[in-house]
């Protein structure tokens, strides 16, 4: 037995010496710019690649949202630019199926190419090794491959626009039979196939990333960095990666089956004898409803994949700018874990209207409502962190506060939707559109802004302009609410989503609903224009911003202990960690913060075993 132990130990010992898994070996930096900046294995460069491509697609998805809002406010009136470019032969009128393409690709691009890659891909990559005190990810080359899966997704998604029939139009949820039968819509002819390939590649990217993140966090922590000393950002990424590792493969299998249904003629999601548009009947025998189960088994956890990293990062930002310890560190960790765990058993709440057995529906309703508990713990703990703190209203902090407040609204409308009877009433209305945007824009996107303002100095070594940042936040906050709050009202009034022209219903053709739709559209244009401020600030600061100090925010986590931007090996010497990241305003410490690398003075007393 002891022989075996020695063997195993020896193997890891030689591995460390030869392959640099140990902490003291620094790889030489590649001299070729192609490998230094393009096919880089440096987690910081990969993070920036994820960030830039995500922001570029944020513009693409955002412009599609503008077109959607134009159509909803002034149905069928010629659209600027697009009408002239595409529909001059059809009287400058948008064809109805184009609206379906717009909302399908707006959702798909924003979810699969923007929010997940930026939150998990960009900030996960950037923060994990720096915050745990490692030189890089556990598998730098795997990390590179995980980014370079994304361009395949980009090309497939963009290519879907130019194939015959145009891009997909079955919604981001891609329900069969609409998505399965090639003749059901123009977009189902070819575009849907490319959509599936695109999402498959984005999924493989996330999958490889999640395995890498989990291994890195488990294996490469600096000395003294116990699991319960990890910053919340890393905890958020860790639990997100668990969700991705266990939920995403199921979506992959479902995507593969739909792809085979469309290309190899299999019958998984095609009902027996289905005939579309007087075409020949399919053999079929499969079940369209099965797709919904498989899809939501991933895509419900996916909404937590899009919010848990944000929650982690906001915890760090709020604590830093409140100059106070995070209120209830361990409860926050457990709450994230509880949200993730419950996230696996609630997918049926997307399907209350699918003819589900009421007993099953009630189970899903109960488990969904339970998520309100850990979510409320998190919200109250953020408020508790800010309460009585000396809050510094930086752009990052303002966006983090925007995140918390908008997440409360999105969370509360979520409880409405969790209740089966209410959900049956508002299913497929603008109420659900309001809900998802309060969580995904009000939540995740404000978090992305906050994280960019916060880590920009560390990423690029320059400061962003705070004044522009504050103006950007104020305008975004106003126009965001102007765009999405009224959706609750028109939704409860019965306005259906995914409908190109609501005014065909007399109920929705009154001055109230039409006026609100026009107001929402104008706000959306304002929201879009406001982002020019952000882009200008981002690009200007990238080149001409004032040089950033190593620790401009006086934060405690490890990344602020190295230079801005960090050298490619991150740390001159691997730091030693003495306590969790939230030791602000500790009694007996000069200055109001205590980096994780400095021991607590004895006068500060023992740490609270539960709350810290």
């Amino acid at each position: 037995m002891s022989h075996e132990h020695a063997d195993a130990g020896h193997t890891s010992g030689t591995e460390a010496a030869h392959h640099g898994h140990g902490h003291d070996h620094i790889h030489p930096r590649p001299w070729n710019p192609l490998f230094r900046y393009v096919f880089s294995t440096d987690h910081k460069i990969i993070a920036i690649q994820f960030l830039f491509s995500g922001l570029i697609f944020f513009v693409v998805g955002g412009l599609m949202a503008m077109a959607i809002r134009w159509q909803l406010a002034w149905p069928w009136s010629p659209m600027p630019v697009l009408s002239k470019a595409l529909w001059s032969s059809q009287g400058y009128r948008m064809p109805p199926e184009f609206y379906n393409k717009l909302f399908t690709m707006h959702g798909s691009v924003m979810i699969f190419l923007v929010v997940i890659p930026i939150l998990a891909g960009a900030f996960g990559n950037f923060t994990i090794p720096l915050m745990i005190g490692a030189r890089d990810m556990a598998f730098p080359r795997l990390n590179m491959i995980s980014y370079w899966c994304m361009p395949f997704a980009f090309v497939a998604m963009l290519n879907s626009f130019i194939v015959e029939g145009g891009t997909a139009e079955a919604g981001w949820t891609s329900y069969p039979t609409l998505a399965n039968s090639p003749w059901s819509t123009p977009g189902s002819f070819n575009g849907q196939t490319w959509w599936l390939i695109g999402v498959l590649f984005a999924g493989v990217s996330s999958l490889l990333g999640s395995i890498n993140y989990l291994t890195t966090i488990l294996m490469l922590r600096a000395p003294g960095m116990k699991m319960f000393r990890l910053p919340m950002t890393v905890w958020g990424m860790f639990i997100t990666s668990i969700l991705q590792a266990f939920a995403l493969p199921v979506l992959t299998s479902a995507l593969v089956m739909q792809l085979l249904d469309r290309t190899a003629g299999t019958n998984f999601f095609t009902p027996a004898g289905l005939s579309v548009a007087n075409g020949p009947a399919a053999i079929g025998g499969g079940q369209p409803l099965l797709w919904q189960h498989l899809f939501w088994f991933y895509s419900h956890p996916a909404v937590y994949i899009m919010i848990l990293p944000a929650m982690g990062m906001m915890s760090d930002i709020i604590s830093t700018f409140s100059r106070k310890p995070l209120f209830g560190y361990k409860p926050m960790v457990i709450a994230i874990g509880a949200i993730a765990g419950l996230g696996f058993i609630v997918w049926g709440h997307h399907m209350f209207q699918s003819g589900m057995n009421p007993a099953l529906g009630a189970t899903f309703m109960l488990s969904t409502m339970l998520i309100a508990l850990p979510s409320a713990i998190k919200v109250f703990n953020w408020l508790g962190t800010m309460w009585g703190g000396r809050i510094q209203f930086t752009s990052a902090m303002l966006n983090a506060m925007g995140f918390v407040s908008m997440f409360i609204i999105g969370g509360l409308s979520g409880i409405f939707l969790a209740a089966t009877p209410v959900d049956m009433h508002v299913h497929d209305t603008y109420f659900i559109v309001a809900h998802i945007h309060y969580v995904l824009f009000g939540g995740s996107t404000f978090a992305i802004f906050a994280a960019i303002y916060y880590w920009f100095p560390k990423m690029f070594g320059r400061m962003m302009d705070e004044r522009l940042g504050k103006v950007h936040f104020a305008l975004t906050f106003l126009t965001f609410n102007g765009t999405f709050f009224l959706m609750h009202i028109v939704g409860l009034h019965g306005m259906l989503r995914r409908t190109a022209d609501p005014t065909i219903y007399p109920l929705l053709n009154g001055p109230g609903v039409v006026g609100m739709n026009q107001f929402m559209t104008l706000s959306a244009f304002g929201l879009g224009l406001t982002q020019i401020l952000f882009a200008a600030n981002f690009l200007y600061s990238l080149v001409l911003g004032p040089k950033a100090a190593d620790n401009p925010w006086k934060a405690n986590t490890l990344e602020w202990g190295t230079t801005s931007p960090p050298p490619y090996y991150n740390f001159q010497t691997i730091p030693t960690v003495y306590h969790p990241a939230y030791e602000f305003s500790v009694p007996g410490v000069v200055g109001d913060f205590l980096p994780q690398t400095e021991p607590r003075p004895p006068i500060a007393g023992p740490m609270d075993p539960i709350m810290a």
Binding site: L214, L248, P249, G273, G286
Partner: protein, 250 residues
């Protein structure tokens, strides 16, 4: 035992070998953690496929397959006339030639072959662990070859099903068993096809191991890659046992 001497001794306490070493040595290598996580994702992927199979099979109507009509034919107007000799099934029965084209005997042999490759894999790893490099190289090569034989038999089976044999109407309206002819065919080809792709990946990895092992790359101090590929190989083997059971035998 010789290599144990070269290993830097852990500073241990005086309480004997049961005391924990004070050095913070990771109990596992990152590669092993990652392969277990990867296998977890693979389990979820195959759970998606196998779960789909179970749900679709359970939801198949009692008249989904019959000996006189192609699969998924609507028999609503046929059944009241009580046609002579008509037998209907919810799902093709094993060894029932009128609805099930699969050659269970051939695949049973193939299953045995694949299990043998897991045995040679274990023997190869333990040979490396005991520094028997030549023996290890032989077993690794044997594993790659046996895996290739399994794939060959599967390709032969696919060819028979899709192009060579002509099957009764209860199997397929076209006479050939291709992925589009019935739900059973869709499930069969997708599940076994993805498993075959995994075996193919494993054979490639195993061949690389075999080539390197002939140059003496693995020894009692360096068998990490063999162990990692081995874990994957056993996983693929295990999945096949489940697939063989649910697709062919039940």
């Amino acid at each position: 035992m010789a290599d144990a001497a070269t290993f830097p001794a852990h500073p241990t306490t005086a309480h004997g070998s049961m005391a924990r070493p004070t050095v913070q040595a990771p109990p596992l290598t990152p590669g092993k953690v990652a392969i277990w996580l990867f296998l977890a994702t693979e389990i979820m992927f195959f759970t998606g496929l196998i779960g789909t199979y179970i749900v679709l099979r359970a939801g198949s109507p009692p008249t989904g397959y019959s000996n006189l009509y192609p699969p998924a034919t609507d028999l609503t107007y046929v059944l009241p006339t009580k046609p002579e000799g008509l037998k209907t099934y919810a799902w093709p029965k094993p060894y029932d030639d009128s609805t099930n084209p699969l050659s269970i005997d051939l695949t049973a042999v193939n299953t045995f072959i694949l299990i043998c490759s897991s045995v040679t894999m274990v023997l190869g790893l333990s040979a490396f662990q005991r520094d028997q490099k030549r023996k290890g190289a032989l077993y690794t090569t044997a594993t790659a070859l046996i895996g290739a034989v399994f794939l060959g038999v599967q390709v032969f089976e696919y060819r028979q099903l899709m192009f060579v044999h002509h099957y009764p109407i209860g199997v397929s309206a076209s006479g050939h068993f291709t992925p589009d002819v019935s739900l059973f065919a869709s499930c069969f080809f997708t599940m076994t096809g993805f498993h075959g792709a995994h075996v193919a990946g494993g054979v490639i990895a195993m061949s690389l191991l075999a080539i390197r092992s002939w140059f003496g790359a693995y020894s009692s101090t360096n068998y990490n890659s063999v162990e990692i590929v081995g874990l994957y190989w056993h996983f693929v083997d295990l999945v096949w046992i489940i697939l063989f059971t649910v697709v062919y035998l039940i």
